[in-house]
Symmetry: C2
């Protein structure tokens, strides 16, 4: 349950998720001597912050992986496809943040608050938007069941890594040099930059939200209707969710379901107009949920099946690095 | 049908919508000599741009209104409640941008592409988010009927007037001085700043989208499920819409419905990942519509009732000033 006595390898240690992962491991008290930070040859030799000191980055290499190591991959799908099998072959246990293995039948796709695992050689970390949505909805699914979700996202540029952050900073400063996005990102919003399937009209991010939600909840007929959009926010994703439950519920029952839920905190002050925002969610472990209301206004506390809510979560923490560390702790 | 021979009074001429209104009247060829620009005492005497010259702002006063004048009110509800009755009493015809009279049974609430009027003493201009949504959906309503709409908005700060624009500019420059919003607006998104009904959990903007859509479409049982959100965009609102039609339609039928629709243009290139954005919609008359797809993927061109789309419209133009000028042209 603790990673303190394990050697923890972070692959992609210099990226936005890799750095967040190191920060969380340091907070968990994993000593620097147990950390192996790996990245591409370009970053090898540099020292990156860890706890009160730093760790030196080495080039990704198969010899780095040894039996009983835990390797957290914070790299691209391409890197994962090439190196995860080598790490496993050398006896390491892998938690992979990329989409490379998520939908494989022999790979668990895990959100510890929902479907924890205690063992496995490769465990996949879900997409950030999927994690935030399912953590926000899990209390309702447990209590009432979920049949259908209409979700529109407001996703931070750091979802595209450091390149996304750099692009927004440059554009705000008036520099229109090209970045990872096809559209300007400063003072603009645009349909998610992942490639679109011309047949379905769904982009990659939307397809992940559909497929991964069904797998994590083990509910192949779950209806998920996503629209994924980037907004000029540096960090933390927001989601406007309209959910149809299996069983009707009253507003007091809905709020009671959140009372002792894990990983989620309600921020919902109608009088003060104070609800979750990405700034409030940034750097926090919990997914924030608010704007909880029946989709169609009826009599006070009438039981109904369709509810709206608004969720914000730090996609670099719970949406990626934190979830991966929690998964690693589950199998350590 | 033309305002060229009318005296046109713009009330609130120095605000964001008032200035846009003057710009549109100039484009329409209304001579500066026919324009009366009115505002509060604070702005009286200043000259604001009009066509290649300027017009001098006078203080709002009842004597300014005369029979056969057209008065376009681009002011607050408070100003409208006080001055619209006086303008009408003196014989002027009023198009009011505020929410003061929108839901009154004796006041038409008009989007010219949908429910044009040819006469009236006071005609109300709908809320900007309502106009953009209904213009985007009108081709579908005409062809197939609309039963239910789930909509999440991405609204520009200029919806809160010049104060919203100033707040975003200041915050981006690092100045956190208070503006019209309770939350930071730079690099953040937040639930719409209009006051919330503590009983329903709906803010004012959402309630307007529900009430006004039902009135404009004359469909009291229309289901509208809105979530209104501000984003750090200077101009043009975006909306993620999931609509349930009365009659099932195929994708070719849906696209055909937009082919000769008025006030709306399809921007929907899946291969290039190019869709409407607020930057593309800014300064344009048309509402841009894209991401048109069935909510649930089925067989190619299968008829189905639930569709998703993404709309962007300039809320200062079609969402306010342009719609008001078009209404005024209808009754001139």
């Amino acid at each position: 349950m603790s990673l303190k006595d394990k050697r923890v390898i972070v692959v992609g240690a210099t990226g936005a998720v890799g750095r967040e992962c190191l920060s969380i491991l340091a907070q968990r008290g994993v000593p620097a001597g147990n950390i192996v930070a790996l990245a591409s040859a370009r970053s090898a030799g540099i020292t990156i912050p860890y706890a009160s000191g730093g760790v030196t980055v080495a080039e990704l290499n198969a010899q780095a992986f040894n039996p009983s190591d835990v390797a957290i991959f914070c790299a691209t799908s391409g890197v994962a496809r090439q190196w995860v099998p080598l790490a496993v072959e050398r006896g390491a246990t892998v938690v992979d943040n990329s989409s490379a293995f998520r939908m494989r039948d022999d790979v668990p796709l895990v959100i510890p608050e929902i479907n924890p695992v205690r063992a496995g050689k490769v465990i996949a970390n879900p997409n950030c938007s999927t994690i935030i949505m399912l953590v926000a909805l899990e209390p309702l699914r447990k209590a009432f069941g979920v049949e259908s979700i209409v979700v529109s996202t407001y996703q931070a540029v750091s979802g595209a890594g450091q390149a996304g952050i750099d692009a927004l900073q440059r554009e705000v400063a008036g520099d229109a040099a090209s970045g990872p996005f096809a559209e300007p990102c400063a003072f603009n919003v645009f349909s998610h930059n992942s490639a679109m399937d011309p047949a379905t009209g769904l982009n990659g991010e939307e397809q992940k939200m559909i497929d991964e939600s069904r797998k994590i909840w083990n509910q192949p007929d779950l209806e998920v209707i996503p629209t994924c959009v980037r907004v000029p926010v540096y960090r933390a994703h927001s989601e406007s969710i309209c959910v149809r439950l299996t069983q009707p519920a009253t507003e007091s029952q809905i709020r009671a379901a959140y009372a002792d839920a894990r990983g989620v905190r309600v921020v919902d002050d109608r009088a003060a107009n104070a609800f979750p925002t990405p700034l409030k969610a940034s750097g926090r472990d919990d997914v924030l949920v608010g704007r909880i209301r029946p989709a169609v206004t009826g009599a006070a506390d009438q039981a109904t099946r369709t509810w709206c809510l608004w969720a914000c979560g730090d996609q670099l923490r719970k949406g990626a690095a934190l979830n991966a560390v929690q998964v690693a702790e589950g199998i350590a």
